[in-house]
């Protein structure tokens, strides 16, 4: 249910903790797919960031534009908009479905002590009789992963991040 790359993490990541973390990532995707945004946001830390770089090589989101670069407040803004009855584009429902590979516990982030987990994914979005396919890799930083795991960072690298895009209304 979760692969562990760094052997030194094997001891820490007991089967039940692995399952807990795998469920966390599963829920993170599933709650977006089912539109339960409050439950989704509750999976994140107060200082969380949702980041989708324009280029996988860009070092940061300060001196380079990003497809998404949102703190908790900006995430809440998006959620409120998605719920607003006069979000004109949403008169036609958007649906999504994410399919993820087995996550891999990669390492401990040195500066924060967070656990870094990656997961390849593909997401199909349906809107106004058309579907779009998004694909790439999620990188999560999990705070307090042994006791009360929460997501401090969700980074999304799309395989086609450099492509021209139509509007992206939902989180990916």
């Amino acid at each position: 249910m979760m692969l562990v790359r760094d052997p030194s993490l094997q001891a820490d990541l007991t089967p039940s903790l692995r399952e807990r973390l795998a469920l966390l990532l599963h829920d993170e995707s599933e709650q977006l797919d089912t539109g339960r945004f409050d439950a989704w946001l509750a999976l994140f830390t107060p200082d969380c960031v949702y980041w989708m770089p324009l280029s996988p090589e860009q070092p940061d989101a300060l001196d380079h534009v990003s497809l998404f670069y949102e703190d908790r407040l900006a995430m809440r803004l998006r959620i409120e908009r998605l719920r607003h009855p006069r979000a004109h584009s949403l008169k036609d429902l958007i649906r999504t479905s994410r399919c993820g590979a087995t996550p891999v516990a990669e390492k401990i982030d040195e500066s924060t002590g967070d656990l870094v987990i990656t997961r390849r994914f593909q997401m199909v979005e349906y809107h106004r009789d058309r579907t779009r396919l998004f694909a790439g890799i999620y990188t999560y930083q999990i705070a307090d992963f042994r006791d009360d795991p929460r997501i401090r960072l969700k980074r999304v690298d799309l395989v086609d991040s450099a492509a021209p895009f139509e509007a992206i209304e939902t989180f990916i």
Partner: protein
């Protein structure tokens, strides 16, 4: 039906938005007749640096010569026609066609042909311009590179008209007097005709209606929880809130029309802010330009300017928007951010944050604009024949000056449209 019959004083026939015949003619007559923005010369700082793009649907590239000059060339090998410059950007001391190895100098001149001897008896020879990479007529204004397919087009500065002042002001805002493209380029696909986009750009009537969802979202999120002044969050909120200005405020913005479809929107001087990042920037400007000059520069408050038909600049946040018609109902817009040389990182980063907030494909503001454009396009695919009652503010003096509540700049765009579409080349 001649194209000009599709446009009347206050309205247009829906076909201008949906007819492929109209788009073909627009490509040839408007995009092929006007100057078009190609790029900024900071994108190609070193000799041999090149940047590939399109001019009126034709593949071209701009390249920096060793002399420092910028050349804009057709990306079209005179041999069998291959693109010679590959990729989107690159560097080349000389250009070699990948197919049969013809080489060209950076100014396009044919340099060598492998096995040249077998051309004996033919007209192919080095030095004959028919066998060069053909240059486009091009000119650079303040680092902004333009080109045209029209030999009869007026000189660039004359054509830019008052828009030159906007490019001047953008450049002068840099303490070092220099801008550079930095931070990446968004490429947004709009599901609308290219004109629908240009017709929105000084439209002060739409924000309150179109942007309700982000405005109300921001109300709810902020309730009892204002972000810290000076924080990124506060700036983001301010950007969203700009769409909540009342009509009086919109009416106080001045929209001027001039030249071949161009226009600017400007406001009163921004009040002196006590925000330390802005202060630091202003001090840097004063230090470099002197107080009086800095004051003159900062007193000009251009919100944006349309340089018809393919460029919209946004001086307050140093954004460029370059417009490429793809089909009658698809438009590609490339959004670039300029760095003010000599300004601090913190100041420049605000423009990055602005781009993220307003121009990213994920922007919660832009998404509603895109939906409005899409609905205009979809509506005009059918329905009745005449639309776009661009009648608002008939009293704007000679259509030249009005406010952001006025539609005179759209009427002005259609005058240029008619001029070009009638076949005028200058």
């Amino acid at each position: 039906m001649p194209f000009t019959d599709l446009v009347a004083e206050n309205r247009v026939h829906r076909k201008v938005y949906v007819s492929p015949v109209v788009l073909d003619a627009e490509r040839e007559r408007i995009f092929g007749g006007s100057w078009l923005y190609v790029g900024h010369d900071s994108q190609i700082p070193a000799a041999g640096d090149y940047f590939c793009t399109e001019v009126a649907g034709r593949p071209v590239f701009m390249i920096r010569h060793g002399s420092g000059d910028v050349h804009v060339l057709h990306n079209h090998c005179p041999h069998r026609g291959a693109l010679v410059a590959g990729g989107r950007t690159g560097n080349a001391r000389m250009l070699r066609c990948c197919y049969h190895g013809w080489t060209f100098q950076v100014d396009g001149r044919l340099q060598a042909i492998p096995c040249m001897e077998s051309y004996e008896g033919s007209e192919v020879r080095i030095g004959d311009p028919r066998f060069d990479l053909k240059p486009l007529r091009s000119a650079v204004y303040r680092g902004f590179v333009f080109a045209t397919l029209n030999d009869d087009a007026p000189a660039l500065a004359a054509w830019l008209n008052q828009a030159a002042a906007v490019l001047d002001n953008m450049t002068e805002r840099a303490p070092d007097g220099k801008l550079e493209i930095a931070g990446g380029c968004f490429r947004a696909v709009q599901r609308n005709n290219w004109k629908v986009y240009l017709e929105n750009l000084h439209d002060g009537m739409h924000p309150k209606f179109v942007h309700q969802s982000s405005l109300r979202a921001s109300d709810r999120v902020c309730r009892g929880e204002e972000p810290d002044a000076g924080s990124d969050a506060a700036l983001r909120m301010r950007i969203i809130a700009a769409n909540d200005q009342d009509f009086e405020q919109m009416n106080a913005l001045t929209v001027d029309c001039f030249g071949a479809g161009h226009s600017t929107m400007r406001g009163f001087r921004n009040p002196r802010s006590d925000d330390p990042v802005a202060r630091e920037y202003e001090e840097a400007l004063v230090a470099r330009r002197g107080a009086a000059e800095a004051d003159r520069i900062l007193s000009l408050n251009y919100h944006n300017a349309n340089i018809y038909p393919n460029l919209s600049v946004h001086p307050s946040f140093m954004q460029l928007r370059v417009i490429f018609p793809v089909s009658v109902d698809r438009t590609l817009v490339e959004i670039w951010t300029l760095r003010l040389k000599g300004a601090g990182d913190a100041f420049n980063r605000r423009n990055i944050l602005y781009a993220n907030t307003v121009h990213s494909p994920s922007s919660i503001i832009k998404v509603d604009d895109l939906e409005a454009y899409r609905r205009v396009q979809a509506g005009n695919a059918g329905g009745t024949e005449w639309v776009s009652q661009h009648a608002r503010d008939r009293t704007a003096s000679g259509d030249a000056t009005g406010s952001a509540l006025s539609e005179h700049y759209i009427r002005h765009q259609y005058r240029a449209w008619g001029h070009y579409m009638e076949g005028h080349r200058s």
